[in-house]
């Protein structure tokens, strides 16, 4: 069944690649004059366009891109002059780490509040929790990021305002996930440093997600609470903790996982802005540069990777369903 899913993804990926290619090239703007800068003469601009193949017909350029892309070669970035795949893999771990920690932050905040709000629904705390969720979902994350930088960074000097790790800390790259690599190396200083650098961006990114998940958790628990099997569980004398965590939450989990899976996409989108605000060297930050420079090759490669990640995450979500609910089969 897994094979069918993967084969089914091929036309989707092809479609995305064509759409992205077309949109990038239709959008006005000229990477050559931008990269050559203020000293470029007209003759030089024309020559470079030719060297980079940008004067070829669009379909020829697309074919060139596609025939290399199927072999895993996305060409060289116009700006960096280095292979797109190298640039992406250099930065992917930073984004993955940020997304994971944001997800963790979101889950740790939202599920307890959601469950509590459902159990004590219509209480003062429930209203406060839901009010907070509304605020969380309404805050634009670039604004929240800048506020955190200003207060926690600039005024209180509690957390670092930019980057992934402090100066002078050397880490042997194994997974390139700093938290993991520092644990492997047993380097506790590096671990703290990486964690401290992650906190503000992860909270920025995780807040709106937490807000959504809190509301979903609350409503799914409320629904499950009224089911017969909960009454049965209570009737057979199970403690309240076991009823809530083992029966209610587990049954509410399918909805929550679906939302988390879908929101992971939003998390990656959000990372584009958050990474720029915090100078966090991930692929979101790279995508902004690629698009604003019209670095076609880099942008195409990056969006392709974004699409692939959506696909993989969706697949993982489906596999998780099976784990949570054994009745479901792919």
């Amino acid at each position: 069944m897994l094979r069918r899913r993967i084969i089914g993804a091929i036309p989707v990926v092809l479609g995305i690649s064509f759409l992205v290619f077309l949109l990038m090239h239709i959008a006005p703007g000229d990477p050559v004059s931008l990269l050559l800068g203020e000293d470029a003469t007209d003759a030089e601009i024309q020559r470079t366009r030719h060297e980079w193949g940008l004067d070829q017909p669009l379909l020829v350029q697309y074919w060139e891109f596609l025939s290399h892309a199927v072999r895993g070669d996305f060409g060289k970035s116009l700006k960096f002059g280095e292979p797109v795949t190298k640039l992406v893999f250099e930065r992917l771990p930073a984004t993955a780490e940020l997304a994971f920690v944001s997800l963790l932050v979101a889950v740790l905040i939202s599920i307890p509040i959601g469950v509590y709000s459902a159990i004590k629904h219509d209480s003062l705390l429930d209203h406060a929790g839901m009010g907070l969720a509304l605020v969380g979902v309404s805050l634009p994350n670039f604004w929240l990021g800048i506020m955190l930088i200003y207060f926690l960074g600039g005024q209180l000097n509690l957390l670092p305002v930019a980057g992934r790790i402090d100066y002078g800390i050397q880490l042997e790259p194994v997974t390139r996930l700093y938290l993991v690599d520092s644990l492997i190396a047993g380097n506790f200083t590096a671990f703290w440093s990486a964690l401290r650098h992650l906190l503000m961006p992860a909270v920025t990114l995780g807040t709106s997600l937490a807000a959504i998940v809190t509301r979903i958790t609350r409503s799914s628990i409320l629904e499950v609470m009224r089911q017969d099997f909960i009454t049965t569980a209570r009737a057979k004398g199970l403690g309240e903790t076991a009823v809530v965590w083992r029966h209610m939450l587990r049954n509410a989990m399918i909805t929550i996982i679906t939302i988390l899976g879908l929101q992971l996409g939003a998390l990656l989108n959000g990372s584009v802005i958050t990474e720029t605000v915090f100078s966090f060297p991930g692929i979101g930050d790279l995508l902004i540069q690629a698009i604003s420079l019209r670095d076609y090759r880099l942008a195409q490669g990056l969006i392709f990777f974004f699409a692939m990640m959506y696909f993989v995450v969706n697949l993982l979500v489906d596999l998780l369903y099976m784990l949570v609910d054994p009745r479901i089969k792919l």
Binding site: V32, S33, N157, G168
Partner: protein, 514 residues
């Protein structure tokens, strides 16, 4: 309360609460320790909005990044600003002989790997600039037909035609070690090897660019041991980092943050008149700017000093002519067109537009400081002078591309020419016939002066020619000079350092006051 007393120890809730407090404390404490800070001789950290994006030293053409690379690798000559002129770095002296430029190289200089610096390194580096597929500095040597190395310490560039501006072309071209290139092949950039006051340590794209002092440097040694550059594009983050003491030097302080930083006893703001010359281009290829009277009317209708005062809080310097005082070819006798909307309307009427004229002003919001506000004020001021100005904002990549400025498609636009050291750069690129399409201004008399100054070896005679060209521009005004802005740096107070006008931060120039 009672329960706590009864149990004698702590209960589960208290345990959780206390561990959480302990964990938070551990995460936050290192920064609390730095609450009273100052910069040290051991290490300086710089947050810059523009840092190298790759280890290829030729894959960019941007002044702040030249400034970064010059810590590690050096050019033949560099520009000094008091007074403005060239001084030798790896070249001790030079001669301009008609079609030839002869450079006599400094002796006894060694690369970081111990290899001696010779003319072969110069030829190797220039060849790489000209042939590297990713080089964005090729145009600087477009007139060079041959390079010769008569001995280890002499390099001769033979040009197509005499080129007096060649020093401006070589000032940011860094010399790499040929020995390192032979040793490392296409991996050489990972071992960035130059002759500079600092040695390359490590680099992560988007992360830290780290350098350490070269204790065997041929010149005066730097005081600060380690230097870290980091690219931080978000201005709020740069300012916050400086206020918190996480960083010692930042660039591009937003004008509205200047008073706050100046009040901070640990910080100071370093201000210098920048080299970016801001002006409004009036393209004579389009109506109504084909008429000189209209262009002059436009010049009478804008009050640049009001813009500097109200939008930039005074952090700018109004131009009286095409150039600021740091530029070779500056003419102190220029007077700008005074703000006189009545005169503007009269000139418009004389040009055949008695009821005023509609024009579109193009700009790219966010490219330059407060550019949207500037253009809004320009539109309002010009309104009083009889111009009905419509503002058109374009994304930079469109504005600057071949469908915009570089395709000659814009009649009227707001622009800043950066890193302007020699008037020739501005005059050649914007006003000489055919070099670029940015402005379709064409004047044979002007072209002749430019051709002449480019051949003239005597710097004084060259300046006279450039000044004559400037006079033509001020009479014909295919543009409207506005101002140079102040470059604003935030610096830890105990760092003794004077900012350069060219956006280069040179840490070997810094001293720490103890």
């Amino acid at each position: 309360m009672n329960r706590e007393k009864r149990s004698g120890g702590i209960n589960r809730r208290q345990f959780i609460r206390r561990s959480a407090a302990l964990g938070l404390g551990a995460v936050l404490s290192p920064s609390i320790a730095r609450l009273s800070w100052s910069a040290s001789r051991e290490r300086i950290a710089v947050y810059n909005s523009s840092v190298a994006d790759s280890l290829n030293p030729y894959n960019h053409s941007s002044s702040p990044i030249y400034g970064l690379w010059q810590h590690i690798m050096e050019p033949l000559v560099e520009v000094g600003y008091e007074p403005v002129g060239y001084t030798g770095v790896l070249a001790e002296s030079w001669e301009f002989q008609g079609k030839k430029w002869v450079f006599h190289l400094r002796k006894g200089v060694r690369f970081h790997d111990g290899a001696p610096f010779t003319s072969k390194d110069v030829i190797f580096s220039v060849n790489r600039i000209r042939t590297d597929k990713n080089s964005l500095q090729k145009s600087n040597f477009k007139d060079v037909v041959e390079m010769q190395a008569p001995d280890d310490h002499t390099v001769v560039f033979v040009m197509k035609q005499p080129n007096a501006v060649f020093l401006d072309r070589v000032q940011n071209r860094f010399i790499l070690s040929k020995a390192a290139a032979d040793k490392y092949g296409d991996q050489m950039d990972n071992y960035a090897t130059g002759t500079g006051a600092y040695k390359f340590v490590s680099y992560q794209r988007g992360g830290n660019f780290v350098m350490t002092r070269n204790d065997d440097y041929w010149g005066p040694k730097a005081e600060i041991k380690e230097v870290i550059f980091r690219k931080v594009t978000e201005e709020a983050a740069r300012v916050a980092g400086l206020e918190a003491g996480q960083v010692d030097v930042i660039n591009n302080v937003p004008v509205h943050d200047v008073p706050r930083l100046e009040r901070n006893s640990r910080l100071r703001v370093e201000k210098v008149e920048g080299l970016r010359t801001f002006f409004l281009a009036l393209n004579p290829a389009f109506k109504p700017f084909d008429n000189k009277l209209v262009r002059q009317a436009a010049n009478y209708s804008v009050d640049a000093s009001a813009i500097v005062k109200n939008i930039f809080n005074g952090n700018g310097f109004v131009l009286n002519g095409p150039l600021g005082p740091h530029v070779i070819g500056y003419d102190p006798t220029h007077k700008r067109y005074p703000y006189d909307p009545k005169k503007a309307r009269e000139l418009l009427a004389k040009a055949g537009y008695p009821n005023g004229v509609e024009v579109k002003l193009y700009f790219s919001a966010g490219r330059y400081p407060q550019d949207r506000e500037v253009c809004q004020v320009v539109a309002a001021q010009m309104g009083k002078g009889g111009f009905k100005v419509e503002l058109v904002n374009q994304e930079w990549v469109i504005f600057w591309g071949t469908s915009g400025v570089n395709g000659g498609r814009l009649p009227f636009y707001y622009i800043g020419r950066g890193s302007l050291v020699d008037a020739d750069t501005l005059y050649d690129q914007y006003f000489r016939t055919g070099t670029t399409k940015r402005l379709s201004y064409s004047n044979p008399e002007f072209d002749k002066l430019i051709e002449e100054e480019q051949k003239t070896g005597d710097p004084k005679k060259r300046v006279v020619l450039l000044q004559q060209a400037g006079k033509i521009l001020m009479e014909e005004v295919p543009f409207m000079p506005l101002y140079n802005l102040a470059d604003l740096y935030g610096v830890a107070r105990n760092v003794v350092w004077k900012a350069r006008p060219d956006e280069k931060i040179w840490v070997w120039d810094m001293k720490i006051r103890s």
